[in-house]
Amino acid sequence: MRYQFITAALAATAALQFAGPAAATDLEVTHWWTSGGEAAAVAEFAKAFDATGNHWVDGAIAGSGDTARPIMISRITGGDPMGATQFNHGRQAEELVKAGLMRDLTDLATKEHWKDVIRPASLLNECTVDGKVYCIPVNIHSWQWLWLSNKAFADAGVPVPKNWDEFVAAAPALEKAGKIPLAVGQQAWQTSGAFQVLMVAIGGPDIFKKVYGDKDAAVAGGPEVAKVFKAADDARKMQAKSKVQDWNQATNLVITGQAGGQIMGDWAQGEFQVAGQTAGKDYTCLPGLGVNAVIQTGGDSFYFPLLKDADKSKAQEVLASTMLSPATQVAFNLKKGSLPVRGDVDLNAANDCMKKGLDILAKGNTIPDTNQLMTEDSLTQVNDLFAEFFATPTMTPEDAQKRFADIVSKAD
C-alpha cells in the first residue's frame, strides 16, 4: 500500500515536471546593448523570454559592437558558444554561417511564416544562405537621422533648421552662443557613419548604392562624391570642439542643449526617451538630413549557434519565436527607438519621429545598410580613413576622396 503511494507520488512529481512549462533552461544571450535606452529595450526581451518559463542569462558586453563582436566570434569559433547572439543585419556572421557554426532555423521559419510577416523582405533574405534561414531580424535601424536640440537653437536665437544646408548656415550663430554645432563621438564607426549619411543626403541614394553596393571607384572618385566630401569638411569644422568618445555621450550633449545636433542612427531616440524628452517639443528629428527622406534597413539580428544540448536547442526556438511575436516586437521597439520588422503590429504608442520613420518605410523608400553591402574588412578601412579625416584638420577633402576611391576599388 505504502509502496504504491510512493510510486504514485513519484509519478505525480514526474508528471508535474512535464506538464509545467518545460523545465527552466538557462540560455545565455550576448549583445552590446548597454546604454540607458538600449538596456531598457533588451529587458523587454528578457521579460518575454522568462515568461515562457525559461531563463534569460544576460551576456551584455560593454563598449560598442566593435568591442563585442570579436568576443562573440572568438567564443563561437573557440568552442564555447552562447545560446544566442546579436549581430547587425548583413555580412558580419557570413563566414560563421558558412563554416556551419550557426543553427539552421528553416523549420521554425516555415512553421511561423516568417516570409509573410517580416518586411521589408530583404531582411529575411539577409538571413538566408543557400535557401536556409540562419538568423532572425528583430528591428530596423536607420542611420539617416539628424537630431537637433530645440533648446540650443533657441539659446542661439536662430530657428531650428529644416535641412542640412540650413544647419550648416546656423553653425556660426551656435558657436557664438558657446554651443558645439555638431556633436560627434570620436569612435571610428561614428565618423564614417556620419559620412555615409551625408552621401545619401547630398549625393542621393543612387550614388550611395553605386559606391557602397557596386564598389564603383569611378563614382567614388567623381564630382558627386566630391560634394559629399565638401559637406564632410563642413561637418568636420562643426564638430571640432566635441571631445567625447561614445555616441550616447554625444547624444547627451544634444539632450542637454550643449550641442546643436548630431548625425546618428535612430537608436539615439532611446536616449531622448530615457531623458524624458518629447519629439517636436524638446528635440527635432530630420530623416535623411531633411533632404532625401529614406530609411536604411540596417539593424540587429539574432543568430543561434549550433548547440549539443537538446534542452538548450529547444529553448533557442522558443527565444526566436518570442522575439518575433507581435507583443514583444512592439514593447522592444518602442523602448529601442527602432522600427519593428513586422508590418502587422499596432504602433499607436509610437512618437512623432518613429511615425515619420514608419511612414517612409511604408512608402518603400529604403536603402541597404553598409553592413549589408561591404565586408567588415573593407568597412574597417573606411572607418580608419574617416577617423583620421575627422581628427586631422590638415587633411584636405581631395586627399581623403582619393584614398576613399582607392579603398572602394579594392573593397569586397
Binding site: 570620436q186 565586408t375 574588412d377 583620421e388
Partner: protein
Amino acid sequence: MTEQTARRPSRLFRNLNAKIASIPMILNALVIFLGGTIWTIVYSFTDSRLLPRLNFVGLDQYRRLWVTPRWLVAVENLAIYGACMLVFSLIIGFLLAALLDQKIRFEDTFRTIFLYPFALSFIVTGLVWQWILNPNFGVQHVVRSLGWTDFAFDPLYDSSIVIYGILIAALWQGTGLVMCLMLAGLRGIDEDIWKAARVDGIPTWKTYLFIIIPMMRPVLITTLVIIAAGIVKVYDLVVAQTSGGPGISSEVPAKYVYEYMFHAQNLGQGFAASTMMLLTVIIVIVPWAYLEFGRRK
C-alpha cells in the same frame, strides 16, 4: 671511487629528475611558442578572413600592410615611443636609484612610493592619465583655475603629440621598476670600490659614470630586456588612454594586429602584421645575441 667512475651514467641520464621536470616547459616552448609562430607565419601568406584557410596569395597581405596609413602611423608611433621609453626610463630610473643610494632617511618609504605605480595595471594607469590629461578636468583645468587662463595642455587631443601623452603615463608606471632593479645593482657593488675611488680622489659623478655603470652591465641587460619587451607589446595603455585617437594618431602595431584579426575579420592581414612585429624583434635581438654570446666563445 673507481667503482663510481666505472658506473658513471651516460650524459643523457644525468640529472634525470631535472630533465623530467623540464619536459613540460620544453614542450610548451616547442609546441606553443615555436609551433604557434610558424603557424602564424604560414597563414600570413593566405587570404584567410574570419576563419583560417590555406589559400596562398603570396606577399599580397604584406604589400597591402605597407601601404595602409594606419599601419605606417602605428610603426612610427612605436619607434618614437620605444626610443623615448628606453632612454628616459633608463635615465630617470638610474637617477632615482642613485639618489636613493645616498643613504638617505626614509629610503623604504620613497622606494615604495616610486614603485607603487608598477602595481597598477596598464588599464588603470591609462584611465588615470586620461583623466589627468583631460583638458576639462585635468592639469589644464587646475592651472587655469589658478589664474593662468590661457594655459593649454591637452596632449591627448592633439594628434601631433598624443604619443607623448601616452609616454608620460608609461614612464610614470614603469620607471619605478627600473629604479628598483638599478638600486639592486648599485647595492651589489662592493663597498671597497667606493672606498678606493674616494682614496684616489675621484669625484662621485665620475665614479658612477666610469666605474659603477660598467660594473652593472648584467643588471642593465636584464632591465633592457624587460623594457624592450614592454615596448613591443604596448596595447592596453593606448586602448585605455586614447583608443588610438584622435583619429588614428596614437595607433600601435599590437592594436592593428588585434583589430584586423578579430574586428575586421581579416586574419591574413593580422598575421602579416604580427609577423612584421616578430621580424622587428628578431632584427633587434639577433645582432645583440651574436655580440653577447658569440664573443664568449
